[in-house]
């Protein structure tokens, strides 16, 4: 069993994994970070998106052993230590960007990756970037709105609900 080490949300973590263990199961089962959701387990839905060395990755489709030595950020690393939501999370709350909340961790992680590379995306760019994140509840509209708001843009400009 390979021994692996990685920095997760700024904290050095380690563990022993089997070759076949997925990053999603290492985070959830070994580290107890159950904010990373597993929706489809077939790389379709994006509920499991985390950042690996700054890039959005579907953690259900990456081996834990592949993440040895990496810096990982999960949804648990988004809010401040006292629980204050970050700008994107707060915008999701303000604009009703979630209903059941199952897809939300992946949506927030994808949105944060998007805003890092494109701080002022257009509505079309947001929708294109979220192509791999599926939401069964919201119809996406309020998610797009929340991300527009989080990037400091006028949400009035996007189509009415």
């Amino acid at each position: 069993m390979p021994d692996i080490k990685m920095k997760v949300n700024g904290v050095e973590r380690s563990g022993s994994v089997e070759g076949r263990d997925l990053l999603s199961s290492f985070l959830r089962d070994d580290l107890g970070l159950t904010g990373t959701h597993v929706g489809c387990d077939t790389s379709q839905c994006g509920a499991c998106v985390v950042h690996v060395d700054g890039e959005a990755v579907k953690s259900c489709t990456m081996l834990a052993a592949e993440a040895d030595g990496a810096e990982i950020v999960t949804i648990e690393g988004m809010a401040a230590p006292d629980g204050t939501l970050n700008t994107i999370q707060q915008a999701f709350q303000d604009h009703h960007g979630l209903q059941c909340g199952f897809c939300t961790p992946g949506m927030v992680m994808s949105a944060s990756a998007l805003l890092k590379e494109n701080p002022k995306p257009t509505e079309a760019e947001i929708r294109a970037y979220l192509e791999g994140n599926i939401c069964r509840c919201t119809g996406y509209h309020n998610i797009v709105k929340a991300i527009m708001a989080a990037s400091g843009q006028d949400v009035g400009a996007i189509a009415a609900e």
């Binding site: 070759g19 076949r20 790389s43 489709t61 081996l63 192509e131 791999g132």
Partner: protein
Amino acid sequence: MYNFDFEKPSTVADAVAALGQEDAQALGGGQTLIPTLKQRLASPSKLVSLKGIPEMVGICRGDDGALCIGGATPHVQVAAEAGDYPALAALASHIGDPAVRNRGTIGGSLANNDPAACYPAAALASGATIKTNSREIAADDYFQGMFTTALEEGEIITEVRFPVPEKANYQKFVQPASRFALTGVFVAKYADGVRVAVTGASEEGVFRWTEAEAALSSNFSADAVPSAPSADGMIGDIHGTPEYRAHLIAVLTKRAVAAAA
């Protein structure tokens, strides 16, 4: 998933040695292989990650002017850095979704040769050379049918060399659920002629539409594109009939020529 050993070498030579073990298999971005393993459609004894090999990642311009892309280069990097071949960069930027593009590699895509994948069309239309740890394979000899290539057991794609065309364009008709191409056409115009490669249509996998190549080589305009090829041997499934795909080939070729010209 059945269990397997995991190894992450840092040179091509070490990777080839590790792949010498019986039932060992290369791991690129895992975007195809991991789902396959989950379905227990493969049971390797060992996965050899190619992601830790610096000489297999990156993009450069060869002495002959070709664009050389390392076999383990992820789609996201091709999208960002293959500006010398804009149609190729655009193709890479529309594969799957951002998370897939961050992990998936060009070598993995060409090794897998999914009948609906995008890179095989680019490689075939560009007359690319697939460089492996042991030889160089011309794209025309490399693709041998759905999920079948000229690669031998344990052979790895270390680099892909694309001659840069005068003009080119890729038209992907997206299958919205899988985000692969329902059908896709890559048109590339070189000084010595035009090449047209079609993905997502034939039961034989990616192929060259030679009739269109001949017509476009003498007149590179959308009007010169022949009428749709025969639907014989085209894929028919819940998403489209063979006739529908054959029709799409002509439509997408026209669009590609119009966009490139």
